[in-house]
Amino acid sequence: MSDETILKVRNLSVDFPIQKSVVHAVKDVSFDLKRGETLCVVGESGSGKSVTARAILQLVAKPGAITGGQILLDTSSGEVDIVKLGSRGLAIREVRGRRIAMIFQEPMTSLSPVHTIGHQIVETILLHEKVSKEEARKRAAALLGRVRIPEPEKALDRYSFEFSGGMRQRAMIAMALSCNPEILIADEPTTALDVTTQAEILSLIRELQRDRGMAVLFITHDMGVVAQIADRVMVMFRGQKVEEASVFDLFERPQQPYTRALLGSVLKLETPAPRPPRPAAEEPIAKIENLELHFPLNAGFMGRPTNYLKAIDGVSLTINQGETVGVVGESGSGKTTLGRTLLRVYDPTGGQVMYWPSNGEPVDIATLNKAGMKSLYGEVRMVFQDPHSSLNPRMTIYQTISEPLRTNTDMTERQMMDRVSELLSRVGLPPDIGDRYPHAFSGGQRQRISIARAVAVRPRLIIADEPTSALDVSLRHQVLDLMRDLQNEYGLSYLFISHDISVIRYFCDRVAVMKNGKIVEVGDVVQICENPQHAYTQNLIGAVPRPDPRLRADAPQ
């Protein structure tokens, strides 16, 4: 790493005018990027980190505009101020792609689905350099090989939708590298990817950066990723720079209160939460046996399908009373489908789900009739992943929370109003917000409302489907702690579905690891996290970026 600075950002400000007011998305931010280093910009939603990155390439979306500052790029002929180049014209196009390249969060939307991968890379090369078509194609193939896409010659003639998410991101990186840029801006390039794929992409970026001496500006919200990849870190909060330090200094000696709070909430999730003693006698509340959900993929001969999509393929799992069982898996593993099948959003095609109601004999949910299910809806509840879509935007908070009370109890309107205010204060919201609509609340507040709705009827089992993954990290443990408190209070059992190992470790007693519709390993959460037995689990746990830079291979002793 040299000390030569390639990019200087000075007092950068970006404003978004909204109707009558102006939002300062980026306020007076200055930083330097040196050749061959990785600078991570980290922050929560709305911190202005993405806007900062886009401003460097003059890609701020309208009506936003750069209102002040300089972005000085070091070139052979002295420094060039990118702010002065404007967002159109030859000069900025010379910078984009050739000097500075960018990769985005969603590789699917940044690649054209109607052109082959090869066509798009060749196009980029031809645009910036005077080479023949054959030469460009040769270079494109070499690039694909470089980002470790198997059979690069063949991959050139395939379309983006034929690739998996990780492969697409590799293709994006290949395209970004096609003109040997000096700076690579990566805007949350791994957020949409599974953790094992994320680990591969991160090591690829790191390796390419070392080989080529590129400077990398890496935007992320994930402290684990920061610890893995950064040389230096810049923390942003509400459009302002909070702190800038080397990665080791930042994790060991954070200077600012905000950084400390951010790291605190990340590290809190690194250790299991204090949990109540589990009941000695393990009485099952639900027992899943050989559950199957197969979707026919073809109509088949005489209406008998021959090929099935096995979304759930023989899953067996027991949930005991007062216990929290986690289900972890990557996207497409069938974990969300499992949760929904338990409540018969989808009808299972085989197997049993025995459930022990509060009074009476165990019932098999998998074959229960409509009336039987109706009586269960009050006891088994669900919390959804996305609090923006699971609350009806056209109903007030009171209407939403009182809905399960209305259908499962015979409370009067008066009683329901009291109960709703009580629930709202229980989940940490003001009790008098019942007449507001969901759009008045932030993501974390909405998730609290969803939880209030779930516990309104005193349930016994809650199926929580990624309840924290749409939330910022500082909100995650708050929501989890709330769920934990409610568990103590009501004696709840949870089936907790998540892709995030740290959340599972923090919150669950036992955990089941799912892959391709099957459970590959079940065990105590500490055992699974510390000493996984199955190869897939080992791979999964190993790929999780830990928020501790000292675990890095290149960490100073």
Partner: protein, 383 residues
């Protein structure tokens, strides 16, 4: 897996906006209005549409004459100009008036030629007494919004037709029929479309497929011949009112398909929404699920579909009546009035007979712009 939303500011913005203003407890209608009111063209269209419907509602009062009143002395009388000031021996003073006609018959073509006659001053005024009428068929009245102070005087603001009837009065009365045919016709279409589209979208499966094929079949039949066929099947001796309703039914039997499609599409996408699944898991009954949780998301889309369907109805009625197969005189609609503008003579001698056509264009455009605005504002929660 989903990342925290990171279009910088956007979430924060909404929060700010919401907390700053009164939108905290704003219902969906308040939000829709908030969004709609920023669509300028749609706002103008809204005003125009409201005006047109006001004209339709108060047609008897606004029209100077009864639409059937004829006077052979004034066949194809040209439009009169309103003069605000009168100059005579007493000087110039404010006295709104029009001028009467000097007419003579051209001996060659037997055409009646009109000249304004400066000697025949016809004072006009607001709220004048004129021909008696029954307002909405209930109250006896004889006041007219605008007219000559002496009801025996000729008053043709936009000219007269081939029987010497006042075109303005006829157009105003035509507004009522033409605009109401749109509204009532769409109501019928809406009922059919809502039921069939709703069943199609909610039930799915075989029912859905059958209904969709029927819709495709209806839409594939060329509309004009289909109307013609249906209209021709109507007995000729039906009274005008019965014909009016028959035309309505014919138009809505064809017009429901569009609304059914919109409703079905919304139901299909709503069925998979998290908040609908969540309501189902609350144990909500199917009826309540549809009425309480799904329908409110549909209202605004339905209103948009209606607004966009009304102009189609108006155009259909106009086309049918123009061809002489829709409404029949003495019922007055814009289409019926345009029948008079079918021949060459009308174009050369009395171009003002196209005024009802202009009304059709204005009404249809206004409704379309309004519909566009409503459609854009219909889902205030869309990103």
């Amino acid at each position: 897996m989903s990342a925290p939303i990171d279009t910088a500011g956007e979430a924060a913005l909404l929060d700010q906006q919401v907390h700053a203003g009164s939108l905290v407890a704003a219902s969906q209608w308040a939000l829709i209005w908030h969004k709609f009111s920023r669509h300028r063209l749609a706002m103008v269209a809204l005003v125009v549409v409201v005006l047109i419907y006001l004209v339709a509602a108060f047609a008897e009062f606004l029209a100077p004459y009864d639409p059937g009143k004829f006077d052979p002395r004034y066949t194809f009388a040209p439009p009169q100009q309103i003069h605000l000031f009168l100059t005579d021996e007493d000087g110039t003073r404010f006295a709104p008036h029009v001028l009467g006609y000097k007419s003579q018959v051209d001996p060659k073509s037997f055409r009646r030629l009109f000249q304004p006659d400066p000697d025949k001053v016809i004072p006009i005024g607001f709220f004048v007494e004129g021909q008696p009428y029954k307002f909405w068929g209930i109250w006896e009245a004889n006041r007219h919004f605008l007219g000559p102070t002496d009801k025996a005087d000729p008053f043709f603001l936009i000219g007269g037709d081939r029987l010497g009837r006042d075109l303005l009065s006829r157009t105003i009365h035509g507004t009522r029929i033409s605009m109401s045919i749109g509204l009532v016709g769409v109501t019928f279409s809406l009922i059919i479309g809502l039921i069939l589209g709703g069943i199609s979208g909610y039930r799915g499966g075989l029912v859905d497929r059958v209904i969709q094929r029927v819709i495709e079949f209806i839409r594939s039949v060329p509309t004009i011949p289909l109307w013609l066929g249906l209209a021709a099947a109507m007995p000729k001796d039906w009274p005008p009112l019965q014909v009016y309703f028959a035309i309505l039914i014919i138009l809505s039997l064809i017009g429901w398909t569009e609304i059914a499609r919109v409703v079905r599409g919304r139901f299909l996408s709503l069925r998979r929404e998290d908040f609908v699944i969540a309501a189902r898991l609350d144990g909500v009954s199917e009826f309540r699920l549809i009425m309480r949780h799904m329908m409110p998301s549909l209202y605004s889309h339905i209103i948009a579909a209606i607004t966009l369907a009304i102009p189609n109805m108006i155009l259909a009625e106009t086309a049918l009546s123009f061809l002489g197969l829709g409404l029949q005189p003495p019922i007055v609609s814009w289409g019926v009035l345009l029948q008079d503008a079918q021949n060459l003579r009308a174009i050369t001698q009395a171009p003002w007979q196209f005024v009802p056509g202009v009304c059709v264009v204005v009404a249809v455009l206004a409704l379309n712009f309004l519909g566009d605005g409503v459609r854009d504002a219909a889902d205030p929660y869309a990103k």
